[in-house]
């Protein structure tokens, strides 16, 4: 009887124990299943993330402007090391770094799974490191800019984790970056992959971008501009070279500049691409555009004489206007542009009236972004007509009460040189995939309606603006080989936070093109706040015109020798003469 009770008790106890075990199993297998499966997977699997190579950026002749290079990084995993000193001495032999330094790095490392030892090791070192237990080699991509500062503002730069932060790098970041690959492997005890378990995505390298920029022309522009920028101790300077028929930008320089590989140490003031972000009053540079609009609207004609009030023009509602130097009596339209008469332009503006002037300037793209494929472009400022005062209609025609970007000015002159047809400035020529196939190509714009009668633009270019270079303020841009046309501008700089203009502070600019018969290039040079205490001058004709002339000469000579077919036949013919 007693044995029976013991047996029943024992049986009951065992039953309870087994029930408890079953309950525990159910708890582990059913309720806590995901947690333990996760832990198990973590132990058995390793995830391999393949980082894509960022796409290259090339100039229009295939020269590399930006490319990524693999960078090998040696690391150790402290948690699996038996003896850090032993590992450190093994690595020291391979990496040529003191063992005590490596040992200190390992023991001081906060992350037990990853301690970086050395970055940028070569192939032989990397293979030797792989044989050391607990050490490994990871890779990353480092961005290189072989041309250094040359095209820094166009290209921009990337962060340490390879994200575009400025310029083309930012604008086309998604295309250039590519997409990462991800695979899950079954791993051995040393975390080495044995077999592929699951493949999520293939690594896709970033696409390549071909620019319209020609680094040789970019070099010409930078070299000439930099010299003048230093000679005149200017605050900043910029130059743009464009193809008027297509709107392709061949060079774009902004000074001061920076080295994109070391942008962290650069002054933040140098990082801005002034050619598209800085807005300034254009001064006389806008006169040919306003005159073209006036001629097209038939408010003036090319033979008519306008009385320029002998240098002082005052009236109710628009104050007093004076000339830059001497006063003039009667001038025709060509003479107004050649002598850069403010009063002549003010009278033309009065004849046009608000609406015609505003609509014409809008047609030339002022007051809105040009649409260039670069980030951070400013729209400039052209007030809507209800906000115009009595001064506006007399001041805007000679470049006051309006702000523009250098790119807008280039666009408007490209339109004049292109027979009044609109163009869109662009820096991207094509986007190519990893096999070299063209993904996207910037096509020449289809023929569209003229904004201004081509006869008028032709007259402005070949008669008026060549006169500026041959007889007027642009003599320093004159070339023997080619007939240059252009217009100088010396604009006051508005005071910050108060009315009026700052004294002895100017933006000296010159916009030119050549050859006048069939323009192949348009060049804008603008120098901000040249040091007047040097006594070398401060006007656009003195500072900017010689630079523009030299850039045109070097560019046309280069284009003629390197791709004669792209230059208009008239150019070659005129040269032979």
């Amino acid at each position: 009887m007693k044995n029976l009770r013991v047996s029943i008790s024992l049986f009951g106890l065992l039953t309870v124990i087994f029930l408890a075990l079953i309950a525990r199993c159910v708890y582990l297998q059913y309720f806590n299943n995901p947690k333990y499966v996760g832990l198990c997977d973590k132990q058995q699997q390793t995830i391999a993330m393949l980082k894509p190579q960022r796409g290259v950026i090339l100039d229009c002749r295939g020269r590399v402007l930006a490319a990524s290079k693999e960078l090998q990084t040696v690391f150790v995993e402290p948690r699996i090391l038996d003896d850090p000193k032993q590992t450190a001495s093994e690595l020291a032999e391979v990496l040529d770094v003191g063992a005590h330094i490596i040992c200190k790095v390992i023991t001081d490392g906060a992350n037990p799974g990853f301690v970086k030892i050395k970055q940028g090791v070569d192939v032989n070192q990397a293979s030797a490191v792989r044989k050391v237990r607990g050490a490994g080699v990871d890779y990353d991509w480092q961005r290189h800019y072989p041309t250094g500062r040359l095209a820094s503002h166009i290209l921009g730069f990337t962060s340490a984790d390879n994200r575009g932060l400025e310029g083309i790098e930012l604008e086309y970041d998604k295309d250039l970056a590519g997409s990462a690959g991800k695979s899950v492997f079954i791993a051995d005890a040393f975390r080495r992959p044995i077999r592929l378990k699951e493949h999520f995505a293939d690594v896709t390298d970033g696409v390549g971008i071909i620019l319209t920029i020609d680094s040789t022309i970019q070099q010409f522009a930078r070299e000439e501009l930099y010299q003048q920028y230093q000679n005149y101790r200017a605050e900043s300077a910029m130059a743009i070279v464009a193809e008027p028929k297509t709107g392709a930008i061949l060079a774009m320089v902004s000074l001061p500049d920076f080295d994109p590989e070391h942008f962290n140490t650069a002054d933040t003031n140098t990082l801005r691409n002034r050619a598209i972000t800085d807005q300034f009053e254009p001064g006389s540079l806008i006169k040919p555009v306003v005159m073209a609009i006036a001629l097209d609207d038939k408010v003036v004609n090319t033979t008519e004489k306008i009385f320029c009030e002998d240098g002082s023009y005052c009236g109710k509602g628009f104050g007093c206007i004076s000339e830059y130097r001497n006063g003039f009596a009667n001038l025709n339209v060509r003479e107004i542009l050649v002598n850069s008469s403010n009063i002549g332009m003010a009278k033309v503006g009065q004849r046009m009236g608000k609406e015609k002037l505003y609509n014409g300037l809008k047609l030339f793209g002022f007051g809105k972004e040009t649409g260039i494929d670069l980030p951070g472009e400013a729209p400039g400022l052209l007030w809507p007509t209800p906000k115009w005062t009595g001064y506006s209609v007399t001041r805007i025609p000679f470049g006051q009460e309006i702000t523009v970007t250098a790119m807008q000015l280039v666009k408007s002159f490209c339109m004049l040189a292109n027979g009044g047809r609109p163009v869109r400035p662009h820096v991207i020529k094509a986007v190519v995939d990893n096999e070299g196939n063209i993904v996207k190509m910037t096509q020449a714009p289809p023929p569209v309606a003229y904004c201004v009668d081509p006869k008028i633009t032709k007259w402005i270019i070949t008669e008026a603006l060549t006169g500026v270079v041959n007889e007027g303020t642009g003599k320093k841009a004159k070339l023997k080989k080619w007939q240059v046309f252009g217009k100088s501008g010396t604009a006051n700089i508005a005071k910050e936070g108060e009315r009026g203009y700052a004294e002895r502070q100017y933006v000296a600019s010159f916009i030119a093109g050549a050859p006048a018969e069939d323009p192949a290039v348009i060049v804008l040079v603008s120098v901000r706040k040249p040091d007047m205490s040097l006594g070398k001058g401060y006007t656009g004709g003195t500072i900017a015109a010689p630079v523009a002339g030299k850039i045109i000469e070097r560019t046309l000579t280069y284009l003629e020798n390197s791709r004669p077919s792209t230059l208009p036949k008239t150019t070659l013919a005129s040269k032979k003469k």
Partner: protein, 73 residues
């Protein structure tokens, strides 16, 4: 006796199938490893080439050539 032979052949058959499967799996792993190693080697060569190309571009780009011709004073 016949039954004994049959059982023997069945055992041999299943064993050989298992061995063959193991063999195939092993070969698959080896091939996979070889492909991975070849890819790594190919990538390494590509990177070496990229490095050399970048060094060359550093030397022949217009900015550097201009600097070599007219060194800054």
């Amino acid at each position: 006796m016949r039954l004994g032979f049959r059982l023997f052949f069945v055992a041999i058959y299943f064993t050989s199938v298992l061995l063959f499967a193991a063999c195939l799996r092993n070969a698959n792993d080896r091939t996979f490893y070889k492909i991975c190693a070849a890819r790594v080697a190919q990538n390494r060569l590509k990177q070496q080439l990229t490095g050399k190309q970048l060094r060359l571009e550093n030397l022949i780009n217009p900015a550097n050539v201009a600097q070599q011709i007219n060194p800054p004073k």
